[in-house]
């Protein structure tokens, strides 16, 4: 709806407080909606309910002590955040990482990405009112959690990566389990497509809903699957290959219009690509150490700053670390993808219906604690 249409009904506009306690705001997001009937005139996300001051904590902890915090920002892709942080510190200090560890990290990070996308898939359909796919996804996701639990000892906040390697070595059971999981996931697609993707109700709920096109994305710094849905193949794993991603053959799935349906398809396709990466990494998993012999406790990077960008399940993430040569970072800034992905909603939600707002909020895959830090 454009402005002109809205003009005569200005006086009938009322405010609705969507959240912070609401079944579909995933965590503690509050969206102040100005509504005209069911149509949204203005939407203002209000955030910060989960603010824990990670950046301040980063300045008060040594580099190693901050590592467990990293998996608590985006709790759905905690391992990817661990991974990125360790990479950043390793790059700063010039720590060499054994080959085996690098492959293990990639395998685990991709498993983590799949689990994050699976959870998104389930909760998104739940936001749209279909409860059952949510539990099917949890059934699948449980297999990943079991796998990662077996190697890292934790199911959500992994704290798995260490400077110069990983915490524990993977065994044959893990490798076999990962293979089994990939086969299982692939066999489930048929059912998921029949249950959700092809469902006429679902299609009507997502098609042409919440279009984020290239220009809008550029303006708001939208990244990740939300940007790729608009047809931009921007994936830091390809563009700025970190770790050993440049050794794998995988595609960056892209959409066209950038509506909720494209975002949905991009994420589903990404899971398949992650499966491919895992398969290749397992195939090429070298023998050797999973961790450097020297266990880095207190690292002191040289003075200066370093930025490391990596691709989390939600988009381009980055650690900006400033070292003053001591054991504590002078500044630890984290660029979180959900920040831009949420901010763009101030534009996108305008003129949509409340039901669409839920669909859009779900489709951009927000993790609020990540934004709040």
């Amino acid at each position: 709806m454009d402005e002109q249409l809205l003009e005569p009904v200005r006086e009938n506009i009322y405010q609705l407080n969507l959240g912070p306690q609401h079944p579909s705001t995933h965590g503690v997001l509050r969206v102040l909606l100005k509504l005209d009937g069911e149509y949204i005139v203005e939407a203002e996300p209000v955030i910060g309910y989960g603010h824990r001051g990670h950046e301040k904590m980063g300045e008060n902890h040594t580099y190693l002590q901050f590592m467990p915090n990293t998996s608590r920002m985006d709790y759905l892709s905690g391992l990817i955040y661990n991974h990125g942080y360790c990479l950043a510190v390793e790059k700063m200090c010039g720590i060499e990482v054994p080959e085996r560890a690098r492959y293990i990290r990639v395998i685990c990070a991709e498993l983590n990405r799949i689990s994050s996308h699976l959870l998104w898939f389930g909760t998104y359909v739940m936001d749209l009112g279909g409860f059952t796919p949510f539990l099917y996804c949890f059934d699948d996701r449980e297999q990943i959690l079991d796998l990662l639990d077996g190697v890292s000892g934790s199911r959500l906040t992994y704290s798995y990566c260490r400077f110069g390697g990983v915490n524990r070595d993977v065994d044959d059971a893990f490798v076999a389990g990962a293979r089994r999981f990939i086969a299982r996931l692939r066999s489930r697609w048929v059912d998921y497509h029949n249950l959700v993707t092809k469902n006429v109700i679902f299609i009507h709920r997502v098609r042409d809903v919440g279009i984020i096109d290239r220009d809008l994305a550029l303006r708001f710094g939208v990244t990740g699957p939300n940007l790729r849905a608009a047809g931009v193949a921007y994936d830091l794993r390809k563009i700025e290959p970190y770790e050993v991603y440049d050794r794998f053959d995988f595609e960056v799935p892209i959409g066209g219009k950038g509506d909720a349906q494209d975002r949905y398809h991009v994420r589903l396709a990404e899971m398949e690509q992650s499966c491919r990466i895992i398969e290749q990494a397992i195939e090429a998993l070298p023998a050797g150490r999973f961790r450097n012999e020297y266990r880095y406790q207190h690292v002191t990077p040289p003075k200066g700053d370093y930025y490391l960008g990596f691709e989390s399940a939600r988009g381009a993430t980055g650690y900006y670390l400033v070292s003053d040569g001591s054991r504590y970072p002078y500044r630890c800034h984290i660029r979180v993808p959900s920040f831009g992905n949420l901010q763009v909603l101030t534009e996108v939600l305008k003129g949509t219906m409340v039901a669409d707002a839920i669909s859009i909020l779900g489709s951009v895959d927000l993790v609020i604690p990540e934004i709040d830090r």
Binding site: M67, D149, G150, S152
Partner: protein, 146 residues
Amino acid sequence: MGYWKEIVEGGWSLVEGMRVTAKRLVRPVVTVQYPRQTIDMTLAYRGHIELKKFAESGSHRCVACGTCERTCPSHVIKVQGVKAHARSDKVATHYWIDFTRCSLCGLCVEACPTETLKFSREYQLDGETRWDGVIDLIQRLEENRS
């Protein structure tokens, strides 16, 4: 024509979806009825930390150096130790952890120079007050021994 096609195809997609759920309806359940059935924790499982018991001494090897204390990001650990006499090694007398603040990162286990720390595999750690989370690991070790 598109109108009819959409209705028929849409209706058929719903039937397809119902087939998927019907198939699941007759499958066995995958969940575990928790208090009645339990699952074994994996070997890697990280519960709260615990002192290892070494066969040769029948006790822990904690020398109360305090490395874990300093490594812990959440200041969970407090260690006290005494020297039996001036030339002997220090031996821990108390090893408190406040489990309510522990984030189970495992940095202390890695930091321990005598490798006397390990993860317990307990997961039923509920309590009524916050003080129930404060555990003296040395006392716990003694109790487990008897």
